[in-house]
Symmetry: C2
Subunit: 181 residues, 2 copies
């Protein structure tokens, strides 16, 4: 299939964590259009599974939605070169106060492919040992504990809406069910 | 819990489909920070299930990743007031060339809650009848057909990374497994 080509990329605004670009694209039949593009340095998120099977979740205020949300622990890389496994280990300990003895890759997600290059690698963390939460000065996070049944119910009734959290938890559920077969 | 407060929101760039804002927030202890905020008009996506259980998927070039991707059909609302069910019915027919006789809400997703208010309502479409693809002039989409087993495999081996697609398909898989129990 002939494909769309990008013929120009112009930086139009530099944000705190994002850069906003104006792209000019050309279709195979010669039509031109301007498309938004947002550059992001990438992130990691973690499904932290306690020895009894419960999942450690974080509740925090999200400015973009102007409300509190319940999510799996996650955070951006310090820079685009940082391995996401290091980012995952740091974020799960900082946000939940548990250090992970074992980390296993579960998924790679692209959060908003219509306009953003953000990548989130998703890991399952086990062998969790309590340490201490270390939050940034603009982070205020509560730690909560749920069974997978409770979380699946909260996703299917619309209580949990965060896409990375839904994708991570439902994929973990499907992967565990496959192993049991 | 005392929470973070937003004390200012300033529009800094108007894109083609997105608006970019600079927010100033204040933490409970008086610390101030600037956070990025992107406004989006919302979208719908669809898991289109044929009578034989196969799923209709779309393959297209994604400028943000500079490659082809395999996704469930989706599209933005015409305006923030458009019901997402109408958007879903329109997009599934435009992108796949099938009209849905039945549409059932599955999930509500927030794609990138660290910085964007985008909402995607996810529907399951059944009773599909072949009609005709109607693509926008800058849309070039191939239609493909997969079993759920094939799609779950492609998610767990990292081939499918689009977060709305992963969240939608894995949630559909979990919901179907629950009904069978």
């Amino acid at each position: 299939m002939d494909s769309i080509k990008r013929i120009k990329r112009e930086l139009v605004y530099t944000g705190t964590i994002l850069d906003f670009y104006k792209d000019t694209i050309e279709t195979p039949d010669g039509h031109r259009a301007e498309w938004d593009f947002i550059a992001h340095k990438g992130a990691a998120c973690v499904v932290p599974v306690l020895d009894d099977g419960r999942i450690i979740m974080v509740r925090q205020y999200r400015n973009a939605l102007d409300r509190m949300t319940l999510e799996v622990p996650a955070g951006a890389r310090n820079n685009p070169q940082e391995p996401t496994s290091e980012c995952a280990l740091r974020e799960v300990e900082e946000e939940t106060g548990y250090r992970a003895g074992k980390l296993e890759w579960l998924l790679t997600l692209r959060t908003a492919i219509a306009y953003c290059d953000e990548l989130i690698d998703v890991y399952v963390a086990t062998e969790l040992v309590p340490t201490k939460q270390h939050l940034d000065e603009d982070e205020f996070i509560d730690v909560e504990y749920y069974t997978m049944d409770q979380l699946v119910e909260m996703i299917l009734n619309g209580t949990i809406q965060d896409a990375k959290t839904v994708a991570a938890l439902m994929s973990y559920q499907v992967k565990c069910a496959r192993r049991e077969q």
